[in-house]
Symmetry: C2
Subunit: 184 residues, 2 copies
DNA sequence: GAAAACATGTAAAGGGTTACATGATTCC
DNA sequence: GGAATCATGTAACCCTTTACATGTTTTC
């Protein structure tokens, strides 16, 4: 079976929900998988075309009064096969996140104490904001849980986000303690 | 001041250590910042050229008996300026890691229970391996600490890696508990 | 004698973001 | 009247990986 990139699988997965147009896919991503998967329009539209060209989905243009035309995509059985067989395969490797804060701190001896503290403090704040975002999304999912089979899985990915973010916040706290105490 | 990409700053930073050639830079990265920053030769050599072209470093070819010629790079004062002023700037945003396991779990309802458990179990094992790698690197740094001013910073980035990895392992355990119990 | 380590590089392809281009409708 | 939302798309550019190309020396 032909291999596709992860972006293609992500879009195939989203096409199993009620989000069937490029615009709707983008919205869905921004609201629910944004914390571990981002996609831009520059990827979505060309990928949708390729998906259709490969027979993984079909398009129908729907006209709604007072709304722009919509290209609605629906998975073919081949598309579902490609998605499910990808889902069954184990993950090859744990991702390496490129982290600018760590890169800067790695070269911390060329940085002033004030700068290190400022950067870490700033980063910690951003992490705290992110944590709050996760909590909000979680509450939104819990509120609409009743009519959604997928809720348990969505909550599980959010739980990951929360745990990782908390661990990162704790690290910031420890690093700030360490580097604020040091003499200049 | 002209902006460079993160890879360039990473290489400028490494050029402050005793690693002065493309080959040595690659080794250094693989041994110490591999957990938050990877670079391939395909980036290193062209970037070194660009760094020299912009006057951030100088090259000298050194010949050692019984060894291939080495291109040794040393930072100019301009290079040091570019590096230090980048270090002082705050980080714009927290990175979004693309995580294949989360992507697969997000669409967990199209996956068999056995497959989910296998994938999570496998992932947890890979995380445990990674944790051990961090512990080994940590011990190596501690053993040579005496002659290295940068050790505290290196250990701090490793601490981040350990904390995040542990949090991810805990999440795997919780997710496995949740999804093993469920009825098929 | 073969494999691993030392050493430098390029080219093609893949993946992704950003900016641009267009245009309707709805809300303030 | 202007901003935001709805809606689709392309082109240029940037970044990164992978595969290729080359050749020596050391270790097993």
């Amino acid at each position: 079976m032909k291999k596709y990139n992860h972006t293609t699988y992500a879009i195939l997965g989203i096409l199993t929900t009620e989000c069937t147009s490029g615009y709707a896919i983008k919205q869905f991503i921004d609201q629910s998988l944004n914390h571990f998967w981002k996609i831009s329009y520059g990827q979505i539209y060309p990928t949708l075309k390729a998906i259709v060209a490969d027979g993984l989905a079909e398009v129908h243009t729907s006209s709604h009064e007072g709304r722009p035309d919509r290209h609605e995509y629906s998975l073919t059985s081949k598309g579902i096969d490609v998605l499910t067989s990808w889902l069954e395969q184990p993950v090859e490797q744990v991702p390496v996140e490129r982290n600018e804060v760590l890169l800067k701190l790695f070269f911390g001896r060329y940085q002033s104490k004030a700068s290190k503290v400022r950067i870490l403090h700033d980063y910690k704040q951003k992490l705290a904001d992110r944590y709050q975002t996760y909590v909000s999304i979680e509450q939104a999912i819990l509120a609409h849980k009743n009519n959604n089979e997928a809720a348990a899985y969505w909550l599980c990915t959010l739980d990951y986000g929360k745990r990782i973010t908390l661990a990162a916040i704790d690290w910031c706290t420890a690093a700030l303690d360490q580097f604020s105490v040091e003499e200049e």
